[in-house]
Symmetry: C2
Subunit: 327 residues, 2 copies
DNA sequence: TTGTAAGCGTTATCAG
DNA sequence: CTGATAACGCTTACAA
């Protein structure tokens, strides 16, 4: 930890013998500056190792070049991959990102939003799927633009980036139906309110009207625990809304001598690296996760600079990888 | 996105009929203020929904209540879990955390540091294990305190929080040695410079002087690819520095009919949720990952408020979970 | 093309 | 216990 004071724009202007305004112009590359002057200023900046103070800049211009990113859980690989995409694009546009882990908890989300407002971020990316009515309202009222990534605004007021879950889950349902009765096929998804789950359910049921719906928290153990009931209930194929429960279900079957995919089939929907690490490897819908984050962030940059966006609700293409948990 | 101006401290003072200074005093709860006045101010604050502008505050006080967190890869569950610990403690002390994904890349790390300096964060947590000499130097010179989490400063000048890798890897080596010759045991770790790897190597070799060292990138595929060579070279047990390669090695063995643990044993060292999701489940050193992050952040808060810290190099206790990849 | 000067919303130092 | 007032470092009309 070093102890010396940073030079200010004033130091630069003094050394060169020009005004603050001129230095500011060259730093921000706006307004006309004679090339000779520009060079002198640039030289002084280098020599003094001057760096603009972001706070002062923010205060004067009311732009912080910071965005907020609310994420439910850093150890959920789905969100982590979205975050990589967000971060990558943020870097390109020179935004730094302030993290707000929400734990999918309404109170924590509210607190996070308030902090972001206080910090005067220029915009925010929201991830989370148990968004409360209240939170939704706060987001709509927020002083900066908000984009949903891998998440959806049920009111459809806020821009979002996702895959077409209805279509994807319908396709999966159709696939499973080929050699199984509806009653043997189930959708395993988050408990409680979740607009994403609703879409998945809609797609699934449109293909498999007689299918069953089970609720499971989105962690490994929840899936493991649920698996027993699934099998006992006569379910022989599941599609899950998250990857970790799929792994849990798979392992339960294996640990109990139920052959996958012969006796039980599994398809997951996030295709995080997890599903390729199990044996058998899990079949899955694939999502362009990095791109979802990247596109969401790009959309946000447009919103932040008041550019028109043609379609605020973007659906990116998905695919399927059939590995070894399906026949 | 709503469009109304935030009230300022000035609005509050005007409404109550006191000076700015008084309002500031009650907001920051410092200095003496008559209780009656305080109540009036508090009331006005609530009514106006006044919230201090963090930038103005930062400019005036040169404190931002923001910290930087540099992390190599958000999808590496080891770091993700540290990050959760960091975030949790940061919340408690009211710091917001600015993310800087470094990709373990020296240039990106430098850029991240510069951004953090520009943003005037009050401190930073550094994670990364291929820290270049230059970066190390920059960190030592940084204008704010820096704490290493799950990472080590080879020069030992910067505070850090870790487990005792030397001891852990020695213990693991000893375990494996019980029924295998040294020449059949290998350590698989990161390629290139890495002070953490050095510690692991030191511990490993002190127990297994005749052991071999293999290099592997810390992803699944690298482990998978390496496994072939390991087996061909007569290695029959490995300990890995990271979890993903361990999974890769395990799967290679399984895919090729080499029974684990009968014919090949594996121990990993991060105990992320991955290793419990494979079949057989992977034996591992266990680390208090959340706590490493939490303690690092706590340490940083002390440093940021110029408190004395007794021991800047903290080692947290580790354990072992022997699952099904060891005999 | 360049300079002047008024903010931006706080904190903090002095007086009172 | 309270109030003026000068910073903090920069942007941005408005003049020159």
């Amino acid at each position: 930890m070093a102890e010396n004071k940073q030079p200010t724009i004033y130091d630069v202007s003094e050394r060169v013998g020009v005004s603050l305004a001129t230095v500011s112009r060259v730093v921000n590359n706006n307004g006309k500056v004679k090339d000779e002057t520009r060079q002198k200023v640039l030289k002084a900046i280098k020599e003094l190792n001057y760096r603009p103070n972001a706070m002062a800049k923010g205060l004067a211009s009311s732009k912080t070049t910071m965005i907020g990113m609310v994420i439910p859980d850093l150890t959920d690989l789905y969100y982590a991959e979205l975050a990589q995409g967000i971060d990558a694009v943020a870097k390109i546009y020179n935004y730094s990102v302030t993290l707000a882990v929400s734990d999918d908890n309404p109170e924590a989300e509210k607190a996070a939003l308030n902090t972001l407002i206080d910090k005067h971020v220029d915009g925010m990316i929201y991830m989370g799927n148990k968004t409360s009515k209240e939170m939704l309202h706060l987001l709509e009222e927020s002083p900066f633009p908000v984009v949903f990534a891998g998440s959806v605004d049920p009111d459809n007021k806020l821009p979002s980036v996702n895959i077409d879950y209805v279509k994807a889950f319908k396709q999966v349902g159709l696939t499973l139906k080929k050699n199984l009765k509806d009653s043997k096929i189930a959708l395993v998804d988050n408990p409680g309110e979740s607009s994403l789950s609703d879409l998945r359910k809609e797609g699934f049921l449109s293909a498999v009207p007689g299918g069953k719906i089970y609720e499971s928290d989105d962690d490994y153990q929840a899936g493991y625990n649920l698996a027993h009931h699934l099998y006992k209930d006569g379910i022989r194929a599941v599609i899950t809304g998250e990857d970790e429960p799929a792994v849990g279900i798979l392992n339960y079957m294996q640990d109990n001598g139920i052959k996958v995919p012969d006796k039980f089939q599994i398809i997951s929907s996030n295709d995080t690296k997890l599903v390729n690490m199990t044996r058998p490897a899990i079949s899955s819908v694939t999502q362009p996760k990095f791109d979802i984050g990247a596109v969401a962030m790009r959309l946000l940059t447009k919103l932040m600079s008041d550019q028109k966006v043609d379609d605020p609700e973007v659906l990116l293409p998905h695919e399927f990888v059939m590995r070894d948990t399906t026949k």
